[in-house]
């Protein structure tokens, strides 16, 4: 009797499964009925270890758009006003195939004129490769929809396609100015060393191509393993540095940093670089504390200027200095911070870009003069892209942001923050 019951249940499960599958896959992403609205679709990592990125960016984006709509929405090409609408904010889990699926879903089944997000640099790299490379190239069957990203921070991604745009900080400029300032403020600091996580593309390349060279450029002496090719220009000596310093680097999920810290401690540097994301940065910093490493300055990676670092190692991170594109130091930044916190997210240098993107979209929409109807989606996307590429500057949360239409990249104002008594404090404002 039980077996019959189980068999019947199996049949039922099968039918139910097929029904659910048919319904859900065929279900287009929720479209809004009624008046015209300018639609955007966002996505990011809402599951997996980078969940906070997606949660924060969604909160920031939705909050900013709510503010814009409360102030009257955006102007369309015919002079009327329409609200901005977030069709949905999807979970891409930082998986490349899911990012591409969402991109194609947005492009082919919704009226969204721009896709916003992605979170992980690798995912952006994959996504941008799926886009049409050059505008108007009829032989290129890539997707024709603009993407505006807030968090894919690996250097040089937007040039993969003319439909790709980013609002991420320019790390070359940030670190250059940081070390210039540190040089002038700390004449007693002469030598430096440090490490990075080698299986995370952003950390690895930023450390070995940008940060170390910036320090060299401003007169700090590298006392790690000897790298004669190392020089002041970006990427100078990068490959040799990667090879030479491999015994003081780590992986992003590592649990044991003893060998690395001991090596660096023996080099006796005045300044130490910890170029990695919160988990491994904290692991490394805690080991440094255990081995009682005495350094005068501690510099970290932009992505670690966040709450996660404080959650993981508040006391070991004491004194860590990081350049960041966001801190609540202007009235706009403070009020945005409050609004987003109420919406359940944090504003940090990543999610603040999502907030700014909403306003950037408004500017571009109004410049493009779009129709926002279902029939004009393809033209609207093209007009929007052209408008976005022609914008040379917008207002950011802590200052004006300049944009380069040719590369799709931004140049953002930044400040330097440091962990002081378990909190991030702005220690220098070069704006």
């Amino acid at each position: 009797m039980i077996r019959k019951g189980v068999e019947k249940m199996n049949k039922f499960t099968k039918l139910a499964g097929i029904a659910v599958l048919a319904v859900t896959v065929a279900m287009p992403l929720a479209a809004s009925a009624g008046d015209r609205s300018v639609k955007v679709l966002g996505w990011g990592a809402k599951s997996g270890p980078l969940k906070s990125f997606g949660v924060n960016s969604e909160a920031a984006l939705r909050s900013a758009i709510a503010q814009i709509n409360a102030a009257g929405g955006v102007k369309l090409g015919d002079g009327s006003s329409a609200p901005l609408e977030v069709v949905s904010y999807e979970d891409s889990a930082c998986k490349k195939d899911q990012n591409i699926a969402i991109l194609r879903k947005t492009a082919s089944t919704t009226d969204a004129i721009v896709g916003m997000g992605a979170t992980c640099s690798g995912s952006c790299q994959a996504m941008f490769g799926v886009l049409q490379k050059k505008i108007g190239d009829a032989s290129d069957s890539g997707v024709q929809m603009p993407i505006l990203s807030d968090t894919c921070i690996r250097p040089g991604l937007a040039k993969i396609s003319e439909w790709a745009f980013r609002n991420v900080p320019n790390e070359v400029a940030m670190y250059d100015q940081l070390f210039a300032w540190l040089r002038s403020e700390n004449p007693g600091v002469k030598t430096f060393s440090g490490g990075t996580e080698t299986d995370q593309g952003h950390s690895f390349i930023t450390h070995t191509a940008i940060i170390v060279q910036a320090a060299v450029r401003h007169g700090f002496e590298w006392v790690g393993p000897s790298v004669p090719e190392l020089g002041p220009d970006v990427k100078q000596g990068m490959k040799e540095l990667q090879a030479a310093a491999k015994t003081q680097h780590w992986l992003m999920g590592d649990t044991n940093y003893s060998v690395q810290v001991r090596k660096i401690k023996k080099q006796d540097p005045d300044m130490i670089l910890v170029s990695s994301h919160p988990f491994s940065a904290c692991g490394f910093l805690k080991e440094m504390k255990r081995q009682k490493v005495n350094q005068k300055l501690l510099v970290g990676l932009t992505s670690s200027a966040s709450q996660e670092t404080l959650n993981g190692c508040m006391s070991a991170a004491e004194g860590l200095i990081i350049p960041t594109g966001f801190a609540p130091i202007t009235p706009e930044a403070v009020s945005a911070n409050e609004i987003v916190s109420k919406a359940g997210g944090f504003l940090d240098l990543h999610s603040a870009a999502a907030w700014e993107n909403a306003y950037l979209v408004k500017t571009a929409v109004e410049k493009a003069g779009i129709s926002a109807t279902s029939d004009t989606v393809a033209e609207d996307r093209r007009k929007f892209r052209d408008a976005l590429a022609s914008i040379s500057g917008t207002a950011g949360l802590i200052g004006p942001v300049t944009r380069d239409g040719a590369t799709g990249e931004a140049s953002k104002p930044y400040v330097y923050v440091q962990v002081v008594n378990g909190e991030w404090k702005v220690i220098h404002d070069p704006r």
Binding site: N10, G17, L21, V25, Q125, G129, K133, I160, T198
Partner: protein, 303 residues
């Protein structure tokens, strides 16, 4: 339409991945190495189309050969380990392949731009399809022609003596040996076939996704590879296809509306399905049910 075609392509590619593990599962070898072979196929084909400018079909062909050869080499030491030891050994092999690609660099300059695999930074802009103006329909057709051929080959083999031989080795190696089956040949052949199929899947995957890095080929993908034949059941190839549709179609794409609860449900549903249907979604019970339904239909039509 683009979106649905993309989903169909993903299902096709993952079916190939699943089938590569399926073939091995028939001979009793649970292999976590298929993601590694998938990676080798992906990188090989991409290097050929991007760096050497080959056309897609020859690139796929050579990638399949390379992967098959590697699988052939792996097949021999794999003979020495059985059961769960093989699982761990193949898992370790898969990790070794991933770490290899973590370090793999081959950069060339084309038209002033550097292309090629760049270690941890990955291998970007594998844009053969877009550059040559392939439409979504054409890509989908290419992928599915391959999938159908592979499924047909395995299905056909299963109806002949080869299938019986494979399954005999899977059921009981000692008994199979006593009946005169050369177990070594069968197991190595299965490993090679699995490698070729995974190489094919990987080549197509690389060009669908346009960017490769070592993060794509982790233990997670290896787990998916064995999940498909286990969830689908080893009765026949359609089980694997059904399992891929279940996981990629229903769980990953279909449940998107659940937002961030989707991934929680993912694990839970796998547990539920394995408890309800331990022999797979498409086991002999299901086959019998389908046959009964068809027979009922047929008899109703005749009467």
């Amino acid at each position: 339409m683009d979106y649905y075609l993309n989903l169909i392509n993903t299902i096709g590619i993952h079916t190939l991945l699943g089938l590569s593990a399926y073939v091995l599962l028939l001979t009793g070898q649970l292999s976590m190495a298929q993601a590694g072979f998938f990676a080798v196929g992906a990188y090989s084909a991409s290097v050929l189309t991007v760096i050497f400018g080959w056309s897609i079909l020859p690139a796929i062909g050579l990638a399949m050969l390379i992967t098959g050869f590697l699988a052939f080499l792996v097949g021999f030491p794999a003979l020495r380990v059985r059961g769960l030891m093989l699982v761990v050994a193949t898992l370790a092999f898969g990790e070794f392949v991933r770490l290899f690609f973590h370090n793999f660099r081959w950069r060339v300059t084309q038209d002033g731009v550097e292309v090629g695999p760049d270690g941890t930074m990955g291998f970007s802009e594998i844009r053969y399809f877009a550059e040559h103006g392939w439409t979504s329909w054409e890509v989908a057709s290419l992928i599915w022609i391959f999938v159908i051929i592979v499924m047909a080959l395995i299905w056909w083999a299963d109806q002949t003596r080869s299938g019986a031989v494979l399954r005999a080795v899977g059921e009981d190696e000692l008994a199979a040996g006593t009946v005169g089956i050369d177990v070594t040949v069968v197991k190595v052949a299965a490993m090679t076939a699995g490698g070729v199929i995974a190489g094919l899947g990987g080549s197509l995957y690389a060009h669908q996704i346009t960017m490769l890095d070592h993060h794509a080929f982790t233990v997670l993908l290896a787990t998916f590879a064995i999940a498909y034949p286990i969830l689908g059941g080893v009765s026949n190839v359609f089980g694997t296809l059904v399992a891929v549709i279940f996981i990629q179609g229903l769980l990953v794409e279909g449940l998107r509306f659940l937002g961030d609860w989707r991934m929680l449900l993912f694990g839970a549903l796998i547990v539920v399905v394995m408890n309800l249907k331990p022999r797979g979604l498409f086991d002999s019970q299901t086959l019998r049910w389908i046959k009964n339904v068809l027979r009922l239909r047929l008899s109703r039509r005749l009467s």
